[in-house]
């Protein structure tokens, strides 16, 4: 099937003429989603979607068009539209499609026939079991807001008139649940999940127990007085923070004057315990991929080593403009978008101690189990960082009372410098960064 997607991409690329280049990105995804509620299937969605995105670069001008169908007429129309759109772009000497750069793609097996062959009835069974174990995990769990099984079988291909021809396929699935816990008047919520390449890797028990724990430990939570303290970020929270850091290291942000770190190459931008790598070739990452969104091989990119900034991320365009090589960091939000620069699979080098050991050394702190408002209170250009937080107070080396309705604030620059320890508990999460416990000193907690 992958072969046929690549054939489609190559056929469209074949319509390129003299004086212009073409890139075709073709994707097909089969998805199933089952939601359980009160012992019944609330909804079951099964669907396949396909689409193509065509990029044309003519005389340095770029045009793009997409369509959610792959019939011959649609392909022609999309190609013509992209070609027409290229008339209106500005001339940019660096614009262009990717060409083979000699880097061999990693050999990654991200496709599991076990998922493809997994019967729908068993998917339904997993969703129902997830709701059941979430409810049973703790007597204070009074309900489940949602319990869901979802999977995807994805195939993609990209070809360019400069000779790139690459395809990939992968499977993935997850269980996710939101619990409602109550001790009378008050309700708290908690989420839990389990991710895998095929259903055999999923654990409803883990997801359900995590969701129950996260909700029940917040029962009785209150606001706390404003103060500066050390925060200990749960792995999931760290992963979300890394996503923001990754954006500041994009070559696009650097070239266009939107990166905090543009002029900081080889400077210490973080504490010595910070070593950050982007590596989509790591098969353990759920966002692993042997090729990037332009069809080039992904590679291991050391971004920060022992606190010192070592590299930025580049796709074909930004690399040409910066006079460097692509780092295989092209990403795109499906066939509807043009490629941009982004991290694939960020990972901090883990430390040696567990979360409990780290907490044991903190006299006055906050263990942050969840954050909100990352999109509204964090500015990756200015570095201002302020997010809603909930979790447990740390007093004299032990977790104490639950806290909610506070914010934690600093700047992205300071957060990296103020890291005091990285935990040993590295875990891959369903996002483009791995989670790990992170302790950061001198953060403002705003409350009453």
């Amino acid at each position: 099937m992958s072969k046929s997607l690549l054939e489609i991409a190559e056929r469209v690329v074949g319509w390129s003429g003299t004086g212009f280049d073409v890139e075709a990105f073709v994707a097909r995804e089969r998805e199933t989603e089952v939601r359980a509620y009160q012992g019944e299937v609330e909804s079951l969605t099964a669907a396949t979607s396909v689409g193509i995105g065509v990029r044309v670069v003519r005389d340095g001008r770029q045009g793009f068009a997409y369509a959610a169908a792959l019939d011959e007429e649609t392909l022609r129309e999309t190609f013509d539209e992209a070609l027409d759109n290229s008339r209106f772009g500005s001339v940019d000497e660096f614009a262009g499609v990717a060409e083979p750069d000699g880097v061999a793609a990693a050999s990654l097996d991200l496709y599991r026939s076990e998922l493809v062959d997994f019967p729908t009835d068993d998917k339904v069974g997993l969703a129902l079991e997830l709701e059941r174990v979430t409810l049973a995990a703790d007597p204070r769990v009074t309900g489940v807001e949602s319990a869901e099984y979802a999977d995807s079988v994805y195939e993609g291909a990209v070809a360019t008139s400069r000779g790139v021809a690459a395809s990939s396929r992968e499977t993935g699935c997850y269980l996710a649940t939101y619990s409602l816990a109550s001790d009378g008047d008050e309700t708290q919520t908690g989420f839990g999940f389990s991710v895998g390449r095929h259903p055999g890797e999923l654990s409803a028990e883990t997801a359900g127990t995590d969701a129950a724990d996260r909700a029940t430990r917040l029962l009785g939570a209150s606001k706390a007085p404003t103060r500066r303290l050390t925060v200990v970020l749960d792995p999931y929270v760290t992963a979300r923070l890394l996503g923001i850091v990754g954006a500041t290291l994009s070559g696009d942000a650097v070239l266009k004057g939107r990166s905090l770190f543009a002029d900081r190459m080889n400077d210490a931008v973080g504490a010595p315990s910070i070593t950050l790598v982007d590596d989509a070739t790591d098969p353990d990452a759920f966002t692993a991929s042997a090729i990037d969104a332009e069809g080039l091989a992904t590679r291991r990119v050391p971004l920060i080593s022992d606190g010192v900034l070592q590299a930025f991320l580049y796709d074909t365009y930004t690399a040409r403009r910066a006079g460097v090589s692509s780092t295989g960091s092209a990403v795109r939000g499906g066939f509807k978008g043009t490629p941009g620069v982004g991290a694939h699979a960020l990972r901090l080098a883990p430390g040696t101690r567990s979360q409990a050991e780290i907490v044991a050394d903190i006299g006055d702190g906050l263990l942050v189990q969840g954050v909100t408002g990352l999109h509204s209170g964090v500015n990756a250009v200015s570095g201002d960082f302020s997010v809603g937080a909930e979790g447990l107070r740390i007093r004299d080396g032990e977790t104490a009372e639950p806290i909610r309705e506070v914010t934690i604030a600093s700047t992205i620059q300071r957060l990296l410098m103020d890291v005091t320890e990285v935990g040993s508990d590295l875990e891959w999460l369903p996002m483009s960064a791995a989670g790990v416990t992170l302790a950061i000193a001198d953060v403002t907690m705003s409350g009453t």
Binding site: L44, K256, T372, S376, S382, E405, T407, G447
Partner: protein, 463 residues
């Protein structure tokens, strides 16, 4: 997109296992956009999405499938898949009969964007770029985006509904970076309406660009935001996001039904200060969250949710309304034919109060004045919500003084609603927003006059 005969045949397949309800939602969306960044028109994009989602409800189970193939066989295959997914009925057959297609309103678009030459759209971007850069040498980067979309939808269901709508939206935004001794700051301005290219009769893109640039420049001298609880005055238009998060989501019947809302079971109770009347209104012509029919075929409606501080109703989609034996409130929406509908807001606003906005500030001895809000997020089960301030100032001795840096504010919905103690007479709609509930983005509008909350936690770093 499909005629009555094809709709009936497809619905018959969907109902073959004796389901309670089946629906076809067909959509044909064309969109175009153009992006300028770093002084260059980087890309001009055209897109086409066309397909149908078929929903089959049997008992408490919904089966759903979608297809990009609108032929009889493509629709039958999707209907079959949806029916199989919902397979719980008794197996009886039901006849379905939709007849003449209803179109409840005429298209209210004066200048269809698809008739506007692409170079005119691109010219808006370059004009905005030039205007922003002329605002001062400290403006070091500008990006601007033009986007339009035409979405034709058709809904046919087993209750005999057969209706359609034609929705056109046009959007323009400009973002600037200013650089100074203190680092970089950003400023943004956006305008969007459920309208065509006549959007630009109402909005001057150069003026928008100058405002975005000024916003970034002002923040170069901004102090760190304060931290802790204090009075917060939100300027006209800006407060809509606050209500969207503080109570809007909590009034969506799907969350209420799952007891995942702090407002569950509180109809008839006083939930807000007596001056607060909250309305969700999909009929506001031209506004960003406006439409003729929702994505289940129900005409948009004006729904009063809180009247004089008393909770009067929730918002409903078809599924929740059917369970409660009442009518949908026209709030069933979905991102596209590839998604199931759920309860969503449209244009959510607080009506004018009678205070002079200047007096509200003058009456505030110290606090924060928020002139422009960013997005927000809420946990409906606890009521805790955050929203971002992208342009804000200190209030000192009743006067708006120094600009402060960006950050979130955090509060609890039910508490904040009762802490509103002043409502201005300067109602305005806010910026066009995209609400991302459950991962599905839909356009929403909001509006408020100037208002004051007696205590909200400002999430800054300064003491």
């Amino acid at each position: 997109m499909l005629d009555a005969d094809l709709a009936n045949r497809t619905l018959a397949v969907a109902m073959r296992t004796g389901a309670d309800f089946a629906e076809i939602f067909a959509e044909d969306r064309r969109s175009s956009s153009a992006i300028l960044d770093d002084g260059r028109v980087e890309e001009v994009v055209s897109g086409r999405d066309r397909g149908a989602g078929i929903r089959v409800v049997a008992g408490d189970t919904t089966g759903f499938a979608h297809t990009a193939d609108l032929s009889a066989s493509g629709l039958a295959a999707a209907a079959d898949a949806a029916a199989a997914a919902a397979r719980r009925g008794g197996g009886g057959t039901q006849t379905v009969a939709v007849s003449a297609l209803q179109t409840p309103r005429r298209l209210e678009v004066r200048i269809p964007p698809e008739e506007v030459p692409k170079d005119r759209k691109v010219a808006l971007l370059t004009a905005a770029d030039a205007a922003a850069r002329s605002a001062g040498g400290a403006i070091t980067q500008v990006s601007a985006r033009y986007g339009d979309g035409r979405r034709r939808i058709l809904v046919a269901d087993s209750d005999g509904l057969f209706t359609s709508d034609d929705q056109v939206r046009t959007l323009f935004s400009v973002s600037c970076v200013a650089t100074g001794d203190t680092g970089m700051q950003t400023g943004r301005e956006s305008a969007g309406r459920t309208a065509g290219f006549e959007l630009f009769d109402l909005y001057d893109v150069e003026e928008m660009a100058r405002r975005a640039a000024q916003r970034a420049l002002t923040k170069l001298t901004a102090r760190p935001a304060p931290s802790g609880e204090m009075p917060v005055v939100v300027g006209p238009g800006g407060g809509g996001v606050l209500f969207h998060e503080a109570c809007g989501h909590g009034l969506e019947a799907d969350l209420v039904a799952k007891s995942a809302s702090v407002f569950a079971g509180r109809i008839g109770e006083t939930v807000a200060a007596p001056m607060v009347t909250l309305v969700d209104d999909g009929t506001m012509a031209g506004e960003w969250g406006h439409y003729g029919i929702d994505d289940e075929g129900k005409p948009a409606a004006r729904n009063v949710l809180i009247s004089g501080g008393v909770l009067t109703d929730y918002m409903w989609d078809r599924l929740r309304a059917r369970k409660e034996g009442r009518a949908s409130s026209g709030n069933g929406r979905r991102q596209s034919y590839q998604h199931l509908p759920m309860v969503r807001m449209t244009n959510t606003f607080i009506d004018n109060g009678d205070a002079n906005p200047d007096d509200i500030v003058a009456d505030t001895s110290h606090g924060v004045y928020v002139a422009q809000l960013g997005g927000g997020q809420v946990n409906t089960a606890t009521g805790d919500f955050v929203f971002g301030m992208t342009e804000a100032y200190l209030i000192e001795n009743g006067r708006i003084t120094a600009p402060i840096r960006e950050g979130n504010l955090i509060g609890n919905g039910p508490e904040v609603l009762t802490r509103i103690d002043a409502l201005g007479n300067d109602f305005a709609m806010g910026s066009p927003g995209t609400c991302g509930k459950d991962g599905q983005g839909v356009p929403v509008g909001d509006g408020t006059p100037t208002l004051r909350v007696t205590a909200l936690t400002v999430g800054g770093t300064a003491a």
